[in-house]
Symmetry: C2
Subunit: 262 residues, 2 copies
Amino acid sequence: MNQDISPLELRKQIRSGEFSGNTSGYAKGYVQGNLCILPADWANDFLQFCQLNPKPCPLIGLASKPGDFNLAKLGADLDIRTDLPSYRIFKDGELQREVNDISDYWRDDLVSFVLGCSFSFEEALIADGLEIRNVSEGVNVPMYRTHIDCAEAGRFSGKMVVSMRPMLPSDAIRAIQICTRFPAVHGAPIHFGDPDLIGIADINTPEFGDAVTIRENEVPVFWACGVTPQVVLEQAKPPFCITHSPGCMLVTDLPNSQLAIM
Amino acid sequence: MNQDISPLELRKQIRSGEFSGNTSGYAKGYVQGNLCILPADWANDFLQFCQLNPKPCPLIGLASKPGDFNLAKLGADLDIRTDLPSYRIFKDGELQREVNDISDYWRDDLVSFVLGCSFSFEEALIADGLEIRNVSEGVNVPMYRTHIDCAEAGRFSGKMVVSMRPMLPSDAIRAIQICTRFPAVHGAPIHFGDPDLIGIADINTPEFGDAVTIRENEVPVFWACGVTPQVVLEQAKPPFCITHSPGCMLVTDLPNSQLAIM
């Protein structure tokens, strides 16, 4: 399939079942987002958690009210119930099943949150000539639990999860400059160098994603990661929750450049 | 003496001989600059060298024409011949003497260059709550020759000199963000971590300035340094040249914040 498809056309093909699988690499230049859907009586705590932890949980879209499934600011003719290739249904923090359409699970009290994801800043880094190891090796970015506490909000608390991309120091400096422009997609790295300083025991054994090669003279560079809210949700165990399946994101009409603050 | 003195008043006291010694810490909030004065037939090469090497040689002021000693854009009633506490006179690249006034050496063919200095970005980092080790230990910043070639311009060429400030990685990330706003005072660091990668054999033995403590978990962070043009000038051996003496800078009327590009 043509990767240069527009976000609107891609969402239509996902809705009709013509497109399935990972959205990574499609509709280049447009923001893709992580999805989290919670009942209204849990939504305020989660909103507060996002506001207190903007680096792992950068909020780029929020339903206008409980039951809203359009999130019109994120895209034309968008339906959050059908426009992602795959969803995960959780009950009491336990994964129940994966589905391609959540229309049957929809309720008038559900509140949808869309969070920025690293695809946007990886695209900006690659456009600048930097190599992103997980992209060039064709694997998922390695992710690790840290000992860094997120700020607590109501029933939500937990440790920050980070993603890691190895770089030469001079490239890491450039990456820090570029990512600083994009706070809505995790922003600047939170650490580089010694993994032990943030509670990572073995850099070659990520807890999520895949290990990547770290070459001589490279240092690991760590970004706050969108898996953080998923881990926090599993701990908080809300009675009902829906998320996207890993890699199967909401593709929005927002150009990545629109997330740049300067 | 009151460190909160205005730049104009400080220049007057320097001119009258009432103030002598280092300008560091005086007229806080205002840009201090490195001075280099060359004969007109060497000035174009040096101007090109600065333009090709903006990180070690960020030009913040240039005489309007040969013989101009006012550089009016940098300060009211400024006289570059009398308003620095100490000058160095070079002949054929050799230091001849240090003087407090260069009026007797002035010629109609001399062109004055003023280059940004690290005082401005150190002030911005300290204002943000970061510790600058050379400041807290009350010594000169450690500086090192590297194996990094500057871009050649006419008779000027040589290796880049860098300054080093040790920091925790998270502070180094913040420092990169802040210094990126100040390209006119060396801008973002050019390297962090392993000194050997840029040709520094022993981090504890700086070639200029003083060694500082590097604490556990800190990494050395390296900035392009204003000593670079001095080393390059010594190699090029122009028949005549005047610079400021180390620490005895031109204090301008420009607020440091005016150098911020964003």
